[in-house]
């Protein structure tokens, strides 16, 4: 299935993916309106260190430990995409304890958040990919 792949060779550490991610989740149409004076809390995160940069977001694992560990059943995997039912999540953070990529993070509103490939947003396709100026994040079929 189509997945998001990251190639750090081309990551410039510009953090645009984070802003496009945050923008997408607001479902606004204008980024300035959506993010002006806001501290963003994106589902994709850049790790930077001594000239190396790369973005990390949910890998949508074959054997998702977060889903198996979830105590409420809020996390589930459908059609290869791991999504969270925010209204069932009670922020116990068992998923944060389990995720080997650190791709699940707390959010303001009492539920955890993670990359859901933008399927719940108005745009519907991964915006971090669209926002990457250098092809460091791609969304493609590689035939597992």
């Amino acid at each position: 299935m189509k997945r998001v792949y990251v190639n750090e060779k081309w990551c410039l550490g510009c953090h645009l993916c984070e802003y496009y991610c945050a923008f997408a989740s607001t479902n606004e149409t204008d980024m300035a309106k959506a993010l002006k004076d806001k501290k963003i809390n994106p589902r994709i995160r850049i790790e930077s260190n001594e000239g190396i940069n790369f973005a990390v977001s949910c890998r949508h694992c074959e054997e998702p430990l977060c889903v198996k560990g979830c105590i409420t059943g809020a996390l589930s995997k459908n059609d290869g995409i791991i999504t969270i039912d925010r209204n069932r999540c009670i922020s116990c953070y068992t998923c944060i304890l389990c995720c080997p990529y650190g791709a699940v993070s707390p959010s303001e509103d009492g539920a955890v958040q993670k990359c859901e490939l933008c399927i719940k947003t108005n745009v519907g396709t991964p915006q971090c990919v669209k926002g990457c100026p250098n092809g460091a994040i791609v969304y493609e079929e590689r035939g597992e």
């Binding site: 081309w10 410039l12 002006k36 004076d37």
Partner: protein
């Protein structure tokens, strides 16, 4: 601290209603023109550091930025314009030669823009490239002066070595050093995909790119950087660089700061040392010396590769070309005074040389008058900006064109003309690893392929309009051209009629 006489040329205009402090402008500006003030939670800019390369403008996700020319002026003076005054301030400050990059930006006539193309009406049909074959393939190289037959009367293949191109365009010489590894990879891969050639320039050839040899022209310049047997063998053709349109009569200078490990290996010079190409080849002080170099290179490569001699368009270019056509060279490359460069003394760039249109017309005519046009192919360079320029150049008599600046633009260059600083924000004219990676060859080569594909379509459309279905029939076909607003002399040199004639 001394007074700074030079006022910033550009102003960075930020729309604070749209700025979301994402700081991408700050992170992407190698000149550090942008800064985040954490205690004010606000971005700020320093106009004096801006070179107007548009990197920040292009990446700003909310379109909050624009760069405008400062309207700060000196008192009106038709003679002493702001540019002249500022240059004097700079030199009075530095005591140094003014340096600039890319091609001559001054307001000299652009003859391509004063030439119009013909199209068929009634008496013969225009040809629709979507329905009929339309051929743009060209072969570069000397043509045989006589045919030979074997005992059964079959034609012998006595054709001298040729370059086969899918369209009359090649990427002109840009050295690894003056441009980045990723820029070179983009050019090489695009050339391979399009069935054309790119040119190593004088910086040698990185081992990773030997595999593109069939699409590579290896250059031999006065510095002889990176020239060795394997290098000569690896290319499809060899170019002797005698001159460059942007700086006729001047050598090259790659500052040591750009000579990192890879470059030093490729150029075969110590890391960190300046790479200086002498103004002349010190083994070529005359035409017969050139002939010797041509033939020694042919000997070295078993007469299997065409030899290109590249010269800058200067006043007696026709005579020089005619000499070269008799020197054993297979191809002559002529570089007009608008040709680009990684760095040149401003005065040379802006005041020396000839427009390529005139140089081409006079060379083509001279070689025909002397009956030696078939000894060589002619490649022209020095600001080919569009497919129309190509069609006009071919109709004036060129076999092919070199594009440099146009290719760099496709890769993202914004002609800020600051290559000499080595801080190219687009990852092209730089060797700083963090900047080089900004040019992803997967993206870069595709953009080049797109550009050439588009141009090829346009060339076919224009040819079809003229009722020509093969590029050979366009070459030197000056009846397809008419001048507008040109005087008798210019028309005579271009060998074309005025519009309406």
């Amino acid at each position: 601290m001394a007074i700074n006489y030079v006022y910033p040329e550009y102003e960075i205009v930020r729309n604070y209603d749209r700025c979301i402090n994402c700081r991408v402008c700050e992170r992407q500006c190698a000149n550090e023109a942008h800064k985040y003030l954490s205690d004010y939670n606000k971005m700020t800019s320093d106009d004096s550091k801006c070179v107007n390369c548009h990197r920040c403008v292009a990446l700003c996700p909310t379109r909050a930025l624009k760069i405008v020319k400062s309207n700060h002026t000196f008192r009106e003076n038709a003679n002493w314009n702001g540019k002249s005054i500022n240059e004097i301030y700079k030199q009075a400050e530095s005591g140094g030669v003014l340096l600039s990059s890319m091609g001559n930006p001054e307001n000299y006539p652009v003859y391509f823009d004063k030439i119009l193309l013909n199209a068929s009406q009634v008496t013969n049909p225009s040809i629709d490239p979507l329905r009929e074959p339309m051929e743009t393939r060209v072969f570069l190289g000397a043509k045989p002066d006589r045919i030979e037959r074997d005992e059964n009367g079959r034609l012998k293949n006595n054709m001298p070595p040729q370059l086969k191109l899918s369209m009359p365009v090649m990427f002109s010489a840009m050295s690894y050093g003056s441009i980045s590894y990723n820029a070179h990879e983009s050019l090489a891969r695009a050339a391979a995909e399009m069935g054309i050639l790119y040119n190593t320039g004088e910086g040698g050839l990185h081992e990773d790119f030997y595999k593109y040899g069939q699409n590579t022209i290896v250059q031999v310049a006065s510095g002889r950087f990176g020239v060795h047997k394997k290098y000569l063998d690896s290319g499809a053709a060899i170019e002797i660089k005698m001159g460059q349109g942007a700086k006729p009569g001047i050598g090259g200078h790659l500052p040591g700061t750009k000579v990192g490990e890879d470059i030093s290996k490729t150029r075969m010079i110590p890391e960190g040392t300046d790479a200086i190409s002498p103004a002349p080849h010190h083994d070529i002080y005359s035409i017969e010396d050139l002939r010797q170099l041509v033939y020694s290179l042919k000997e070295a490569t078993a007469y299997k590769k065409p030899i290109i001699v590249k010269i800058a368009a200067v006043h007696n270019v026709a005579a020089i070309a005619s000499g070269i056509a008799r020197s054993g060279a297979d191809i002559i490359a002529i570089d007009g005074f608008r040709g680009g460069t990684g760095a040149a003394p401003t005065r040379i760039r802006d005041h020396v040389g000839l427009p390529i249109e005139l140089a081409l017309a006079s060379v083509d005519k001279r070689l025909r008058d002397e009956g030696i046009r078939n000894n060589v192919s002619i490649v022209v360079a020095g600001s080919i900006r569009s497919s129309a320029d190509i069609v006009k150049a071919v109709a004036l008599g060129a076999d092919c064109v070199y594009i440099g600046t146009a290719a760099l633009l496709a890769l993202g260059c914004h002609l800020c003309r600051s290559c000499q600083t080595g801080k190219c924000n687009w990852g092209i004219a730089t060797q700083r690893a963090d900047l080089v990676k900004r040019l992803n060859p997967d993206i870069g080569y595709k953009r080049l392929v797109n550009l050439l594909t588009a141009w090829k379509h346009e060339i076919k459309e224009m040819m079809g309009g003229m009722g020509i279905n093969s590029i050979e029939s366009l070459k030197g076909n000056r009846l397809m051209l008419r001048g507008v607003g040109l005087n008798e002399k210019e028309l005579e040199i271009l060998g074309i009629k005025h519009a309406g004639e």
